[in-house]
Amino acid sequence: MTDHSRDAGLARRLPEAVTQPEPVGPFPPTDEMLAVPVDPALSREQADRLKQAWHTPQGWRYLSAVNNTEVGVWYSMTAFGFMLAAGVLALLMRVQLAVPENDFLSAERFNQFFTMHGSAMMFLFAVPMFEAISILLLPALLGARDMPFPRLSAYGYWCFLIGGFFVLGSVLFGVAPEGGWFMYPPLSTEAEGLGPDIWLLGLSFIEVASIAAAVELIVGTVKCRPPGMRINLMPLYAWYVLVVGGMILFAFPPLIAGDFLFELQRSFDWPFFDPERGGDPLLWQHLFWIFGHPEVYIIFLPSIAVAAMIVPTAARRPIMGYSWIVLSAVGTGFLSFGLWVHHMFTTGLPMLSLGFFSAASEAVVIPTGVQLFAFVATLIVGRVKIILPMLWIAGALAVFTAGGLTGVMLALAPFNWQVHDTYFIVAHLHYTLFGGMVFPIIGGVYYFYPSIRKKKLSERLGRWSFWLTFTGFNITFLPMHLTGLKGMPRRVFTYPGDIGWDWLNLVSTLGAFVVAAGILVFAWDLVRPKGHQPLAARNPWNGGTLEWSHDVPAQAWGVRSVPYVRSRYPLWDDPGFLERLDAGRFYIPDAPEGLRETIVTSAIDARPQHVARITGPSWSPMVAAVFTGGAFIFPTFKWYLAAGISGAFAVATVIYWLWTATARVPEAPTKDAGLGLRLPTYVSGPKAPGWWAVFITMLGDATAFASLVFGVFFYWTARPDFPPAGAEHADLRAVAAAAAALTLAWATTLGARELNRRTLRRAARILLGAGAALAAAGIAALILAVRLPEMDPTSHVYPAIMWALVVWTVAHIGAGLIMQLYCLAGSFAGRLTPRHDADLWNTTLFWHFLVVTCLVTAAVVGLLPRAL
């Protein structure tokens, strides 16, 4: 990084940088230290203080809770509710298709239903369910008190709830989108009504929440593992969370970039996908499927991760081939990005290009298969007890394997052309998604329920539910392979009789109701009152991982003390572990300051680094989500002023939330963390979880920006008239001025951080102020660069995409400017000091990414078109 290569002569003349306190004391603890008993009276006092710090708000204030155990439950129940709603849509469609020439649903309504069924199942159920369950379980699996940013989880949840109701509610008013869950233009750009806007804005809103959750889960896995849990001891679930979080960062941003272009076309007639004005509908397909195919694995991997937790417990032995499963998770994560064009085999791309994607689609089978073999191997060598969750996992493996085999067929382009857009595809995708997601998740709910709710679900209802769902599923979807091979296209609201499709459809419809019965039995088991039922045993399945060290009855503190871990299965391998955990023998067993805390450790070897103060109950996440919702929802109705005001309030709420609750100057620089270890209470830069969160967020942001730049090159390759002959180009002087001002704004921010660390606070403030002024100047120059030559974005795609890049960059500079001013205000208010400079580190990191964005924009807008 550039900050290490500063001028040695200058550095000598400046004061020394303030140093951060380091951890002091023994690590790892010795067996003797761990064996020292804790005084029971002291332990009780500590437990009382912890209870107070982690007290969950009661009454109507309960909704201000941010604890992962509360937010995770709301999140997963909401996602399950949306799943049931989307399931009802499916049943109604199946009724319509039961017999030929049926008029139960109109064509228009049918179109809305299949669009919303797909959209809701993918965006409101499958992905959020992963995030919900991970938020709920990850701290328990890692022996952490909570996620690193509890209010961010709460914010994500409220965004999801509002966005979900908005999108799904549109079905009740008959204004839902009708173009299929992938919204292809020109059908959806030309569509009348609000449908596509609801889809684009509502789901973009939810995607932002998804990325927030991904950031939190990655930081949670990397930085919040318990001391001693090295990377080779991590529960496999955490590995999958890490991989899937990374995939979300690179998969969702292209879709957000696509949504951005799409909505600009719908609202302002910028012709990105209109071939008459130089646009190309295929760009949307590329952006959508660069998201859409990894999405399938984003759904599948976490569910298979649940299987990876259940299988060792059922086999009563450690998992076979831990490294192989990690290989398979990471390998699938990578390869799944090379498959997107297999959804576009019929679009007329060069034959050679189709071959690459066909080959990569076959290659991904290898890592996917490896993990299934590892599970089977574990079961073969173990002493298997078919516990109920294992039944669901077994069903999942069978169904998913069948779906995987049709996937291998579909990866071959010539076969794909034959069955493209037929019911064969519907059968295939339901086999992969039901087998790869629904079965394992329900199995996971049966497995983890005692850890979440301290009660067991019913064994009998669970078996009923499984056999109903499993048979019903196969009755519904197995015949669909044949229906598809017999030529029935997807997405038709009815069909003529006597061409061999009648009985197949009738069977599928009957099967669908059997599935529904199975899911309803499960839903009833989930929500039925369990007050009279005794509490479940603490470790009812005899699992070996940390989530089974939970407290019965429930405690809000997560863990009594954050353990020192030295095995993959501490409950199996480490005698005395539970007693020490409960007595508070391990780390941070106390909350003398009455604050919520968790331990932050190093990324690979989990050496303790820092006691992190984490945020408690607050209304600000909910308020911020409501205003953010306004900023996304009002534009649907073209109420741009209201949207702007709502957005401003959202920003103000977030600033209030950050100012009052994050990066507070602690009462003492270090504190006793237990077992003789003293840890810093404030860290900044790469040791701080917040810095990692910014880094990861900006990786995702950079991906979205890269997708826009990809758009420019895509138009250049796909269109002969890009840029059109004689087109006005951006003003070169203004572009150069913008590049200079923004580079200086970055340099002053970096300089401010370095001067501040060297106790030159006034100079740092001057630089921050100058940086903000330069950023503002950069915004003005960038806008002038495309305003001056009167490039009309509605006339052709070339000015439109240049404008889009400028709008994107300007919005980001605006954020960078707010961050500079925030640091400036912090410096004046005494919350940002030479030693407490986390905000300034994070702002500088943001500006590192921002300056690259600005320079690329300047090059692409100012120089590239003149060179093409």
Partner: protein, 122 residues
């Protein structure tokens, strides 16, 4: 920063091989898209693909060799690395890195095969 970390303590080194696969994939896709769309130059596209495959495979083999040494399998024929020690962490990261090099090698070869068999852009 991460590139200064020693490879036995680095997740970034572990994922080097699939990263090479990804770069190779992007290059192959981009080159074909541009050459086929702009100039219908299938032969040039195929040549570029073969050349970049040679480079990618060489790099992956180099990465894989490093990972193989780090895994140190022949010393004790041990493939379960579940102890809380520096040695087990080092060997675990080497093991996964090595397996990822194998999958990446297969991936690169697969993606090259179409260029062997398909001789035209159409």
């Amino acid at each position: 920063m991460f590139w200064r970390q020693p490879r036995d303590r680095s997740l970034w080194h572990m994922i080097l091989a699939p990263t090479i696969w990804a770069l190779h994939f992007v290059l192959v896709y981009g080159v074909t898209a541009v050459l086929c769309a702009k100039w219908d130059a299938a032969d040039l596209a195929r040549l570029t693909i073969f050349a970049s495959t040679a480079v990618a495979l060489t790099l992956i083999v180099a990465v894989g060799r490093g990972a193989w040494r780090q895994w140190d399998y022949l010393d004790g024929w041990d493939d379960i690395h579940d102890r809380p020690t520096d040695n087990h962490r080092r060997r675990f990261l080497g093991h996964v890195g090595f397996l990822l090099s194998l999958v990446s090698t297969i991936g690169v070869i697969y993606v090259t095969l179409p260029a062997v068999f398909v001789e035209t852009c159409r």
